[in-house]
Symmetry: C2
Subunit: 377 residues, 2 copies
């Protein structure tokens, strides 16, 4: 992240100068083409699987350089051209007003009947969502920088003080509720202040997070604890990125021992295939998977009460994950996934409670934190 | 709520003396029966539709007095008897330890192989969840008083200061994220302090809530704003109950103009049929539905961009809701639902943004708040 973007203090000014400039440039190019009597167009990087690759050096999933040109004077492209410019205009409106909107709200803002026709600019949100993604890649901006948010999930507690929209927040004094992580966590909204945490523990679910909060794990172990309500939404991923890169905190993830848990880890660590263009601003290639491992069943002396049988979909999904380029050649991951398959069962983090109420927070996690050889990377 | 329950200050003691007493009484009765050579049994109020009615005086959905006796020496009841005692024992363990657990965690805590058999106490969570509900009604306790929580959703912001687990929280200084409403909001965890809010505005979704937060609606209108991420979970409903009953704040709800919105309102106001036993501790019969109304389309001069066609399920559901005893004889509700059906379309709160970015917070809501005749009761 460039430091120049984080200059606003207190209340958000609502403007990301760089993003605004990029939107204006996009419009100016179209205007210039029109002035010169040329066919106005915008270049949109291709968001197809063929244009995505795993960068082994940066260890994130990245987009390639292929682009598609969207022309105004092209029968097959004119509508999408119009939609792209329209969504861009609405984003500029948001930036100018210092406001933000949900992707649903963007759809309603941009929808209207085209003058002199019966035609709508957008028929439903499934048309405006991909246009917004186009705009993100075309301007190399995150959706959040365009002031657009998705529904949010996720919460944070622990040894961090920060400013959110001018309010000073001490995340050690948030009771049992914690801080609801917003969708937009850009530096113009959230500025970190004091941090005595030594690491971030990210857990999969709210119910597990509450176990840690209730046992005041963050106080004993000097950390920040986050959850993402399953697959973490963009706000949570972006915040993990910022905590890791700006505050240099290691990120440890604790997820269910199943292919879905492995996949969540994969997305946190190297980004997702669908939204490869955001990896650079969201992925944390240094994140470690500290549990639950397929080997924990024997190591922890668990009983068959914790076993959940793998179904065909789980088996298929596990094999797919093993084939991902970013899991290739990683002996410990190969061992882990093969052990899952030979176990024939999966396990949830919550199942640890079958040992005792505080087993997870007082025995399991402290052991994992102290034994790096247990981590999967 | 009896005042005697709210005596703990600071960190939660973890004990609700009344609830603990009820659990012990249940166990003592079983023990006494066994001592006397009688068949041990527990009485469970029936949670069937036939044992549910709408109390027109208190205006909430209530359970009747029918009970089922669950005996140990009865082939058809022995397993559920055992399960009931087992879940009760686990809840007592939670109360004694001053800890709480999710319904999933309760399942894992109570699951084991019955000594000398291959039989499990519980095969899956679908067996333990109804037992927990049995225990709630049998002890006349809320799940939260048994220290059991469900997954949580929902957030709060606005002119309220409170203590959560000993931490002092000022809900006017929570930035853009707000306070994540926990599942357990009982007085032993959350104590209200200063409140300058004049009312509570409850909105359906996170994305709408953010619109109000961003526009600092709570500051202009001196209120508390909550959302429940759709159908509000128990923690949010219980908090609305407490804000209404303890702080005497009126509760206004703003929901989508569709049968689902009507149903959410119905549950907030008079409780749900499935969980009638909790209505007395969660329902807010004085809650008002302030929008979105089927008449808003014309009144606000909206365009057909906001129309979402009603499907067959919507039509059927609307007619069912019109037949609920608690909507019967309410002229304005009859008008509202008939108008929805004659409109042939539904509308989302977010659609208001098609007028302008701040229409909802600066025109629509202030108008609604100032015109009581617009409210549906």
């Amino acid at each position: 992240m460039s430091k120049s973007r984080n200059t606003t203090k207190g209340r958000p000014s609502g403007r990301s100068p760089d993003t605004l400039k990029k939107l204006v440039q996009l419009a100016e190019l179209v205007y210039e083409h029109a002035q010169k009597g040329r066919d106005p167009s915008v270049d949109i990087p291709l968001r197809t699987l063929s244009n995505v690759h795993f960068n082994t050096k940066s260890r994130i999933i990245e987009m390639g350089r292929s682009k598609q040109t969207r022309n105004f004077f092209n029968y097959g492209q004119a509508k999408r051209f119009m939609q792209t410019i329209l969504v861009a205009a609405k984003c500029k409106e948001l930036l100018d007003a210092g406001k933000s909107a949900s992707i649903r709200q963007i759809y309603y803002m941009a929808k209207h009947t085209i003058a002199g026709t019966q035609e709508k600019t957008f028929v439903d949100q499934s048309e405006s969502d991909p246009i917004l993604e186009d705009l993100e890649v075309a301007t190399a901006s995150l959706r959040e920088e365009l002031h657009v948010f998705a529904a949010n999930r996720g919460a944070l507690i622990g040894e961090l003080q920060f400013i959110d929209s001018g309010d000073s927040i001490d995340a050690t004094h948030l009771g049992s509720g914690g801080y609801a992580i917003p969708s937009i966590v850009e530096p113009e909204v959230i500025q970190f202040r004091k941090c005595s945490a030594k690491f971030v523990l990210h857990v999969e679910k709210d119910t597990v997070w509450r176990r840690f909060v209730e046992d005041r794990f963050w106080e004993q172990h000097h950390c920040i604890i986050t959850h993402g309500g399953g697959q973490p939404p963009r706000g949570v991923r972006r915040l993990l990125y910022r905590l890791h890169h700006e505050l240099k905190l290691p990120v440890y993830v604790l997820l269910d021992n199943d292919p879905w848990g492995y996949y969540i880890y994969s997305v946190i660590k190297q980004g997702s295939i669908n939204l490869a263009y955001e990896s650079q601003r969201m992925a944390v290639p240094e994140a470690k998977y500290i549990g639950v491992s397929s080997f924990d069943y024997d190591r922890c002396g668990l009983t068959d009460d914790v076993k959940l049988e793998l179904d065909q979909a789980d088996i298929k999904r596990s094999r797919q994950i093993l084939e991902y380029p970013w899991f290739q050649g990683k002996k410990n991951w190969e061992r882990e996934i093969k052990k899952l398959l030979s176990n024939g069962f999966k396990m949830e983090v919550e199942a640890m409670i079958s040992k005792s109420l505080t087993y997870l927070t007082q025995e399991y996690l402290p052991y994992k934190l102290n034994n790096k050889t247990e981590w999967l990377d």
